[in-house]
């Protein structure tokens, strides 16, 4: 018996009016006589067929689809997306910078408290930046150092060597000179205030010249820090910009531009910086320098003071026959200066990146390059045309100093080794360049204070960077549903939030060193999560490829299944 097509043949032949290929006018009876009708299908066989189709569909839907879904699904670890967004929007923690200023005064306790109260009032009146405020606390003066143990217990007096004390104010009574006057110690976080005893406010008075003087001085000292922090807050944090604008200190346009310049110059924060000092010379001399002793005397002390913020590695090299970049104008001889001059616009192209081996050091962290260029005798002295200077800074990269060798007499051989004395001016220039590259503020005139300001600015930028990275990761996760998220990312995010919370707690208590440590870890973890390598692999696997693989198999299988299902449903609807 030949296999004949017509799964629903009986159904169609019964319902349709069209019949044989004979002329359309022929009657139904005529047509039926030419072909025999197949016997009507039994109910059982119809139901068997329906069950078969149904079971195929059930297998596909209940077994096939889940298996396919399971095997092709991308693993996405649970991320606390809402928390991450909240952190990025600063809804969880608003960073505040309560600075503790210890006041040392050899005054009766009552008077001292009184002075403190009035000064605090004056400071609060001056302060227009709520996130950053100064809190005065009374420290026991050196005169009463013996009694320190008993007084600490009440919490109002602390010793001045506590490292969370931002600044110590020492009140020194004097008889001569203009009073009150202040002196900031350059190598200690101490402000000496000289006053005459009659300037101490009486308990009844609400203001006094001494109190407002101290407040003014303190405000002046922390002005730049406030500006830096408020700049950071307004640019990197969304919560402080826009609707909550009045909370930040309003900065003048010039000030903002100045701070922006400082920030663009400075290198991004890293826990390790590699410093490379290179001596370049277009000729064969000088071929050596006394770099070991120079580093010991000029660089190591500076780096030591930064050790709380970052680590440093130092390497040096000597490169001879190093011509500067051929793309810039040759130096021109200036008769009036009796010197060779470089044009200012050429300074950016001075570094010959193709020829000079200034590759970054191996290891994590950015490399800061310091280039000492000693021009040849025929182009010496070499200066910058516009201002006659000999050094410049390349933002976020390093610094260049041109060291003009002392003019030699004819016939006398130029010395091949640069001595420490000859290198001293260049090393001073490098030190200054390093300070601005690290983002050290210009004021106040006290190095420890500058460093602690830098610490807080770095802390704030790390904090914001970590939280905004988390926000970015949350957005990325929502925007690209096809990227996998491994467990490592979730762990990193957990650790980031934990450390950010810790940092936040430390901040509120004014412990900046601890906060910096935590913010540093949080930032590193957030970066690790964001740049997880296995997340990007699937992004480049487009849907077209999947279709190309599935279609040859699924097409021939799906079409009969679909058609049979449709036919059965149709017949079912007709019957009922």
């Amino acid at each position: 018996m030949p296999l004949a097509e017509g799964a629903s043949a009986p159904v169609t032949s019964q319902s349709s009016s069209t019949t044989s290929s004979a002329a359309g006018a022929t009657s139904d009876s005529n047509a039926q006589s030419s072909t025999r009708q197949p016997p009507p299908e039994t109910k059982e066989s119809i139901w068997v067929r329906r069950l078969v189709v149904l079971s195929f569909w059930l297998v596909v839907l209940l077994l096939g689809l889940p298996v396919w879904w399971k095997t092709t699904a991308i693993y996405r670890a649970e991320l606390p997306l809402q928390d991450m967004t909240d952190w990025a929007d600063d809804k969880v923690c608003k960073p505040v910078f309560p600075l503790r200023v210890a006041v040392e005064a050899s005054l009766p306790l009552q008077d001292a408290h009184n002075l403190l109260r009035t000064t605090q009032h004056a400071i609060d009146d001056l302060n227009e930046f709520s996130a950053h405020h100064l809190r005065l606390i009374l420290a026991e003066s050196h005169n009463s150092a013996n009694a320190s143990q008993e007084v600490v217990s009440d919490g109002t007096r602390v010793t001045t060597d506590d490292e969370d004390i931002a600044l110590a104010v020492r009140l020194i009574p004097v008889e001569t000179g203009t009073t009150p006057r202040a002196h900031l110690q350059p190598y200690a976080p101490t402000l000496d205030v000289y006053y005459t005893p009659n300037q101490i406010p009486t308990p009844s008075s609400t203001g006094s010249p001494l109190a407002s003087f101290i407040a003014q001085e303190l405000h002046k000292i922390f002005e730049e820090e406030q500006a830096l922090l408020s700049y950071l807050l307004s640019t990197t944090s969304t919560a402080y910009s826009g609707k909550t604008k009045p909370k930040t200190k309003t900065l003048s346009a010039e000030k903002t531009a100045e701070i922006e310049r400082q920030f663009t110059r400075a290198l991004k924060y890293a826990s390790t910086y590699h410093l490379t000092f290179s001596l370049f010379s277009p000729t064969a001399t000088p071929s050596g320098w006394e770099i070991e002793s120079v580093l010991k005397h000029y660089v190591s002390p500076l780096l030591e003071s930064f050790s709380a913020i970052s680590n440093f590695t130092v390497d040096t090299q000597v490169q001879l026959y190093a011509e500067f970049s051929p793309s810039i104008h040759r130096p021109e001889h200036d008769e009036s200066l009796n010197a060779w001059t470089l044009r200012k616009e050429d300074l950016s192209g001075f570094i010959n990146a193709a020829e000079w081996p200034l590759s970054p050091s191996i290891g994590t962290g950015p490399t800061v390059n310091f280039v000492l260029y000693v021009p040849g005798q025929d182009q010496s002295p070499l200066l910058i045309k516009e201002n006659g200077g000999n050094s410049w800074l390349i933002p976020q990269w390093g610094g260049v100093v041109i060291l003009n060798p002392p003019l030699q007499d004819e016939g006398k051989q130029a010395s091949t080794i640069l001595t420490e004395d000859a290198l001293a001016p260049a090393m001073h220039a490098f030190s200054n360049q390093l300070l601005s590259l690290l983002g050290l503020p210009q004021t106040p005139e006290s190095l420890p204070l500058k460093l602690s300001t830098l610490k807080r600015v770095r802390l704030a930028s790390l904090f914001f960077s970590a939280s905004s990275t988390m926000g970015a990761l949350a957005r990325l996760t929502n925007a690209l549903p096809s990227i996998p998220i491994p467990d490592a990312v979730a762990q990193s995010i957990d650790s980031t939030t934990k450390h950010l919370q810790e940092a936040c707690n430390h901040l509120h208590e004014g412990r900046f060193q601890g906060a910096l440590e935590h913010a540093r870890i949080a930032e590193a973890e957030a970066e690790k999560a964001f740049f997880e390598r296995s997340m990007v692999g699937q992004v480049y696997f487009p849907d077209e490829h999947k279709v190309a693989v599935y279609l040859p198999l699924l097409g021939p299988v799906a079409v009969p299944l679909l058609m049979a299902g449709l036919k059965e449903i149709k017949s079912l609807l007709k019957r009922s």
């Binding site: 018996m1 030949p2 296999l3 004949a4 097509e5 017509g6 799964a7 043949a9 009986p10 169609t12 032949s13 349709s16 069209t18 019949t19 044989s20 290929s21 359309g24 006018a25 030419s34 072909t35 025999r36 009708q37 197949p38 299908e41 066989s45 067929r49 078969v52 189709v53 195929f56 490379t276 064969a284 001399t285 071929s287 050596g288 770099i291 070991e292 580093l295 590695t313 130092v314 390497d315 040096t316 090299q317 000597v318 001879l320 026959y321 190093a322 081996p357 590759s359 050091s361 191996i362 290891g363 693989v549 040859p552 198999l553 097409g555 021939p556 299988v557 009969p560 299944l561 049979a564």
Partner: protein
């Protein structure tokens, strides 16, 4: 004996340790070939190296060595084959040579093998960036740990923690991009001194060339240690080929008038000629051969003493050599006048000129300790065999040597077929065998044999191997060329070489053709299996859901598109005819 003395003396001259020295040896070879051997050596005291104060040692390489904890490094880039039959003894006894492609071996300080391997990967990856070479492709399958072939050249305070790893890339094409970073490592950077002669076009046009970098720690007896870096470029130039001007580089035959013809040939005529070998030594100058002038001395080298004589030319004493320069130079003669050395002027160019000259005496070239050749035998895509033929030219002394073979995993040797046979002797020449079998896709085969070859005898090593079938992603894009098998390394153990470098020679690399599949196969497979599955599914499904009726019970209008169309046409006709 004369040349041997010369070599000894030359080596003795190099023994002085100053912070930087460089040297160029030129030796005309038969058939108008010229050996040029450049050597640059710089020292850095180990304290300043550890403090990363680099003066003569390049910072980039120094940091890599520190980062990968590498104590001794040997890196080779080579092209071509040293023709030992006509060129004689190898320069530096072959100790500064590598196999075709890139060869790297290093002693790495590590606590265990795993750590050593991870540091080795760091080293290869960073060196790959520094030298613009595919060194990062040296992975576990291309890395071996030789046991007898290499020994450290430097003085290591703590040898028990050192691990020797060795990797080769025989497929690597060495070219100009590897020379540029090589020159950048030199203090004078190719702007002065003998390195100013190095030009990529001429170097890689040579019949044979090898570039090497060797870093080793050297300790004095008083405990002062320093790190010594030796860079060398050895090449054999064809003088006629090198003298071709750059604007007309295509080789063209000389006009027939300029060729000396062998008139005894019967076909000799006005347009046919069999050229005779020129009897006279060809004329050449440094500028012609190297394509650029020698720009005086590098000022960092010694200005006094034998180390200041940086350019030496090794010719018979009767050969005329003229030095053309505007500056001051000195000529010194060593080794019964066969070695002429020049102290270069500082700051002005110098050129050496050798006119064409009919020579009565020749330079006796040293005989190499061994000659070696290796080839793949057999046919077909399934198996083959390797045959290495090693000949001892000496008439008096037997030679002990180590034969190292590092095979890729897809070439599977059968150790039981390994045979070593010496002509005229039934004694087994294999003294020791070290064998580490391959693991598919994880590591290659490593065979080291210690052998003895009697005087004047020829040794033949053979073994059979199977060719593996690779996965289709494992084939390189140029699959038809076949796969390169690294050269075998032969270390001559006696006569004992005078220095710690040892004496080596290497065979050429082998080209191994593997069965190559049709690379459109995966898609064909997908399509074919899908079709088969769809056919099977469709049949079974139809059997289950269709009803079977008698052939005469089927309505004569077929189903499908045609049936539907026909029915439609009939319905419309019926409507019109009404």
């Amino acid at each position: 004996m004369l040349p041997f003395l010369v070599l000894l003396l030359f080596n003795a001259l190099l023994a002085y340790a100053t912070d930087y020295e460089e040297r160029l040896l030129l030796r005309p070879l038969p058939r108008s070939a010229l050996l040029a051997s450049f050597q640059f050596r710089s020292n850095e005291s180990s304290t300043s190296f550890e403090q990363q104060n680099f003066r003569y040692f390049p910072r980039s390489l120094g940091q890599i060595l520190q980062h990968a904890h590498t104590k001794e490094l040997h890196l080779r880039f080579s092209v071509g084959r040293w023709d030992a039959e006509s060129w004689g003894q190898r320069q530096w006894n072959g100790a500064r040579e590598g196999g075709t492609g890139v060869e790297l071996w290093a002693w790495i300080e590590a606590d265990d093998e795993e750590q050593a391997f991870s540091r080795w990967l760091t080293l290869t990856n960073t060196l790959s960036g520094l030298f613009c070479a595919s060194l990062n492709f040296i992975d576990a399958t291309k890395t071996i740990r030789p046991v007898m072939t290499f020994s450290p050249e430097g003085d290591h305070p703590n040898p028990s923690k050192l691990h020797l790893l060795h990797g080769t890339l025989p497929h690597e094409v060495v070219c100009t991009e590897n020379l540029t970073p090589f020159l950048k490592l030199l203090p004078c950077k190719g702007k002065a001194g003998v390195s100013s002669l190095l030009d990529g076009h001429k170097l890689f046009d040579a019949s044979w060339q090898t570039m090497s970098i060797d870093v080793r720690p050297v300790c004095e007896e008083n405990g002062d240690c320093s790190l010594e870096m030796e860079q060398s470029v050895d090449m054999v130039l064809d003088i006629d080929r090198s003298k071709r001007p750059r604007d007309n580089p295509i080789p063209r035959p000389l006009p027939i008038e300029d060729i000396e013809c062998d008139t005894s040939k019967y076909y000799n005529g006005h347009d046919t000629c069999f050229p005779l070998d020129k009897q006279a030594d060809p004329a050449w100058t440094l500028t012609e051969v190297f394509g650029r002038p020698l720009r005086g001395a590098c000022p960092l080298t010694d200005t006094e003493g034998p180390n200041s004589h940086t350019v030496c030319i090794n010719t018979p004493p009767e050969r005329t050599v003229n030095a053309n320069t505007t500056g001051q130079y000195e000529e010194h003669r060593y080794a019964s006048d066969t070695m002429r050395c020049y102290k270069l002027p500082t700051g002005s160019d110098i050129d050496l000129e050798l006119p064409e000259q009919q020579m009565t005496t020749g330079l006796v070239l040293g005989t190499p300790p061994l000659y070696a050749a290796r080839a793949i035998n057999g046919h077909g895509q399934e198996r083959g065999s390797v045959q290495a033929v090693i000949r001892n030219p000496s008439t008096s002394t037997a030679v002990d040597f180590v034969y190292l073979e590092a095979l890729p995993w897809f070439m599977k040797p059968y150790l039981h077929t390994l045979r070593a046979q010496v002509t005229g002797s039934s004694e087994n020449p294999i003294k020791e065998t070290y064998y580490r079998p391959a693991v598919d896709r994880r590591r290659g085969t490593h065979i080291e044999l210690k052998l003895t070859i009697p005087a004047g005898a020829t040794l033949t090593i053979t073994y059979d191997f199977d060719k593996a079938i690779l996965r289709y992603t494992e084939y390189p894009p140029d699959a038809n060329r076949g796969f390169d098998v690294a050269p075998a390394v032969i270390r001559v153990l006696n006569p004992q070489s005078s220095d710690r470098r040892g004496a080596y020679l290497r065979t050429t690399s082998l080209l191994l053709p593997l069965p190559t599949p049709d690379f459109s196969m995966p898609y064909n497979v997908i399509i074919l299996t899908s079709t088969v599955m769809a056919l099977g599914f469709g049949n079974i499904f139809n059997l289950l859901v269709r009803r079977f009726v008698g052939a005469d019970e089927v309505p004569s209008i077929g189903g499908g598109l045609i049936g539907i169309l026909k029915a439609k046409v009939q319905r419309i006709r019926g409507r019109f005819s009404r």
